[in-house]
């Protein structure tokens, strides 16, 4: 048996080729031990390719400006798949098992963990309406229309009613992965994002139920079904969705409780933070409940409690790691989608594809318009026409639909046709909608996300407005949203937090958010001012150099301009210095006088030295500058100060900085 080059060998966890060992006598210096590492090796190679691809895109600036990352990844997947197909190496398609168990959870967990809870609750009504009624409407409308068309023999393959409804249930679901991938790059405002994304997340409850329901119905056969079965199908909505949420809550509590007691083994805290939500996902899967809702709810809930239980360093590492996992998964998913296109069993039926596409777009638009019309009657913040347009356009389909379609039982004859149509819709979504959404959003002048750093003023005023509104609600005698929020926060602070967090006294009002905001902002300012100082210093040096060598002129000019801007900005260097030292003194004073009871963060060494404890121990400005300069050269911090086109996108950056 000849050996093969392992240039592009793919993940294939059951069918990797084995290489026979050659029998020769004597002691071997070097043996080929492929079988021992094959699976793991393949996985690592795959990840490497995906990551390299991402780097490549960021280098190809002109292309990546108008083509979203997800489409580029699919193209690479396509290319790879074609190469493999030609060389007849064993190809593999995106195994739905791998997808649902390994690739999807990190992305959903990332989404849940970084979800702006407040925005979610303010829009909960619209999100629930969209995810439940919207999905139901889409499923039945698309399925019904396709069924109608099939009666006129317009399609090459036939299917039963239930079979087409299986298809329409999976094709009508908005996909969270695709929404994140595309919307995040265009930085649309939070209100729109939370509505589309919230819908994408929670419609899983509906989609999974419909899909399973129709699949069982199809297998049972329509003759054998009774009304009881239909009723049971309807009930399963609530059970699946709520059950998933309950599991999420249970595991969120588990995480908080365990991290509460990890003070002495601090390094282990992140283990719980990752493992338990994953278990929530698996448990929900095991019980046939909505695993997506489970892990998302878990991530949403546990955030505020674990913040008080782990050190800031650990919290940062956790954030970073979650982002990393989610990004890699997303990359791999899209690449696999491209790959699977080549290797799936296709049946190309143009009529069916076009019909599906058309109905998807049409019914989504109709659904959104009708739902917004009804919702606008009950909401303070109304959906404008532009909002409705973006919402309809944001109905992106993605890998979840693909995962579901390939797991349709093969006994359904129309499966290849469905697979092809699903892939076509996904491609349309990712390519066409992905490419056009940015110029459209700009043309329609949709409000972009606020890209500024949070200010102290806003944290304080927001809290203040909450109290004020809740008070006015009381006077007006209505139990409105603010009363609910205040009651929940009071209950939270009084009862739940002391149980789930360390060092929490029973307080009626939770001030920790404002304090955290204050400390974070002070720290940021300190860093920023320190980096200004180094900029000015090096600027001064460079400008003197420029006088002497005109060849350096071009490279120096930007710095020079920056320097001039600072000099002319009304604040001269001295007042900057005094401001800075003022802040620092204050910070130090406060840290020294802080009473131990209110010190929620564990001081002392953790994984690395906490930045502020370094200051406390040395307490001189020189040291401050030195470590700030070190940070300044750290590319991660610098990227936060620049407009970045790739890597930690601004949204991710804001998540990072989010209190």
């Amino acid at each position: 048996m000849s050996s093969r080059l392992f240039v592009f060998i793919l993940i294939c966890y059951a069918t990797a080729d084995k290489i026979e060992e050659s029998d020769s006598d004597g002691y071997k210096l070097f043996t080929w031990k492929w079988e021992e590492v094959d699976q793991v090796y393949l996985i690592t190679v795959w990840l490497l390719i995906a990551a390299l691809a991402k780097i490549l895109f960021n280098l190809m600036k002109p292309i990546s400006k108008w083509l979203p990352d997800s489409s580029l990844l699919i193209i690479i997947g396509l290319a790879l798949g074609w190469v493999l197909h030609q060389t007849t190496l064993i190809g593999t398609s995106l195994d739905s098992h791998t997808f649902f168990l390994y690739l999807l959870p990190p992305i959903i967990f990332d989404a849940g963990y970084f979800m702006p809870n407040r925005a979610l609750f303010e829009n909960l009504d619209s999100i629930l309406v969209f995810s439940v009624f919207g999905t139901l409407w889409n499923t039945f409308a698309i399925g019904g229309s396709l069924l109608l068309m099939s009666h006129y023999d317009l399609f090459t393959m036939s299917f039963t009613t239930f079979e087409i409804f299986i298809f329409s249930s999976l094709i009508s679901a908005v996909d969270p992965v695709a929404v994140i991938a595309i919307f995040e790059e265009i930085h649309v405002n939070e209100f729109l994002f939370i509505n589309v994304f919230g819908e994408a997340l929670f419609n899983d409850g509906v989609t999974v139920v419909l899909y399973q329901m129709f699949k069982s119905f199809a297998l049972i056969g329509s003759e054998n079904l009774s009304t009881l079965d239909y009723v049971k199908g309807g009930l399963s909505f609530f059970i699946v969705a709520l059950g998933g949420a309950v599991i999420g809550v249970v595991f969120a509590v588990a995480v908080s409780l365990t991290t509460k007691y990890t003070y002495d083994v601090r390094i282990l805290a992140p283990v719980f933070i990752f493992v338990l939500p994953y278990m929530a996902y698996l448990t929900a899967e095991m019980l046939s409940l909505s695993s997506i809702i489970g892990i998302a709810v878990c991530g949403m809930l546990m955030k505020q409690y674990i913040k008080g239980n782990i050190t800031p360093a650990a919290a940062n590492s956790v954030k970073y790691f979650i982002k990393m996992l989610a990004q890699s998964s997303e990359t791999v998913i899209f690449m696999f989608l491209g790959l699977s296109t080549i290797t799936s069993q296709h049946h190309f039926d143009l009529n069916f594809i076009i019909a599906t596409l058309f109905f998807c777009l049409l019914y989504r638009a109709i659904g959104i318009i009708v739902q917004c019309f009804i919702l606008n009657r009950f909401r303070a913040k109304k959906f404008e026409v532009v909002d409705q347009f973006v919402l309809s356009y944001g109905g992106l389909r993605g890998a979840i639909a693909y995962g579901l379609v390939v797991s349709i039982p093969a006994s359904i004859t129309a499966k290849p046709m469905f697979v092809t149509a699903t892939i076509a819709v996904i491609y349309f979504t990712v390519f066409l909608q992905g490419i056009t959404v940015r110029p459209l959003v700009n043309w329609l002048k949709v409000k972009k996300r606020e890209e500024r750093d949070a200010t102290m003023v806003e944290s304080v005023y927001n809290k203040y407005l909450d109290y004020m509104m809740s008070g006015v609600e009381d006077i007006a005698g209505k139990k409105g949203p603010y009363t609910l929020i205040e009651n929940f926060e009071r209950f939270n602070a009084k009862r739940i937090k002391p149980i789930l967090m360390r060092h929490q006294k029973k307080e009626s009002f939770d001030a920790s958010k404002i304090i955290r905001a204050y400390e974070k902002i002070t720290l940021e300012d300190a860093i920023r001012l320190a980096s200004i100082k180094t900029t000015i210093q090096s600027g001064r040096l460079e400008s003197t150099v420029a006088v002497h060598s005109s060849s350096n002129q071009k490279t120096v000019t930007p710095r020079h301009l920056q320097l001039e801007k600072f000099m002319n900005s009304g604040e001269n260097i001295d007042s900057l210095y005094s401001l800075f030292s003022d802040l620092l003194d204050r910070k130090l004073l406060e840290m020294n006088t802080k009473s131990p009871a209110s010190e929620v963060k564990g001081g002392g060494e953790d994984i690395q030295d906490d930045y502020m404890t370094e200051v406390k121990s040395r307490s001189n400005l020189a040291a401050m500058f030195r470590s700030a300069e070190q940070l300044d050269s750290d590319p991660a911090y610098n990227r936060q100060r620049r407009q970045s086109a790739g890597d930690l996108d601004a949204k991710k950056k804001n998540d990072f900085l989010r209190v």
Binding site: M456, S470, D474, A476, A511, Y518
Partner: protein
């Protein structure tokens, strides 16, 4: 405490509706709330009015750290302050600040500026037209003071004042307040959808 037999005379209902921008239904709902809270009646005009005591008897308000400030806001108007009675029209006027903004029918009482001004008067304890650092600190202390050491409250107040006080004169004027809030969606935050 319900004396539901009393009704607003029709012309007054009409007048209030036009003046405040609220619908008649909205005003009637507010009226029944007003009546349920009021314990005093004006001898001469037979109108109900609210005193500070009536406000303070609202149970949920007691737990609100800004409770007293909110009550003061109802008495902010100079006339009302003088007579120390809140009549229904005063009640309506204050609450109409929280009506959601209707872009097609703008109204001075629930405009963005009116809402901001209401928020501002709650900070401005002595009605001087500006917020000083001490006033700000008092509010901050009310909100978070119970659990936080005084120096920290001081620093936070300092920091926030520094951010908001653009011209550095030590006072926050209404204009500076508006600027600080310009990125906040006041129209949504300070609106109740049940007020139509």
């Amino acid at each position: 405490m319900g004396q539901t037999t009393s009704q607003i005379p029709e012309h007054e209902l009409e007048h209030l509706s036009i003046e405040s921008g609220l619908s008649r239904g909205g005003i009637l709902k507010l009226y029944s709330r007003f009546i349920s809270l009021a314990t005093h009646r004006d001898k001469t005009t037979n109108e109900y009015f609210l005193t500070k005591g009536d406000f303070q008897s609202i149970a949920e308000l007691k737990q609100n750290p800004l409770g007293d400030r909110i009550i003061d806001a109802f008495f902010a108007d100079a006339e009302v302050l003088e007579r120390r009675k809140v009549y229904f029209k005063d009640f309506v006027k204050v609450l109409s600040h929280f009506r959601p903004i209707n872009k097609n029918k703008p109204h001075p009482w629930n405009s963005r500026e009116a809402k901001l001004r209401f928020a501002f008067t709650m900070y401005d304890l002595n009605k001087s037209g500006t917020i000083t650092k001490d006033e700000f600190q008092d509010i901050l202390e009310m909100m978070i003071g119970a659990n936080v050491p005084k120096e920290q409250v001081n620093s936070i107040a300092d920091r926030t004042m520094r951010e908001a006080d653009r011209d550095g004169d030590g006072y926050i004027t209404f204009q500076e307040f508006c600027n600080a809030m310009e990125k906040t969606d006041i129209e949504q935050k300070m609106s109740f959808r049940f007020l139509t």
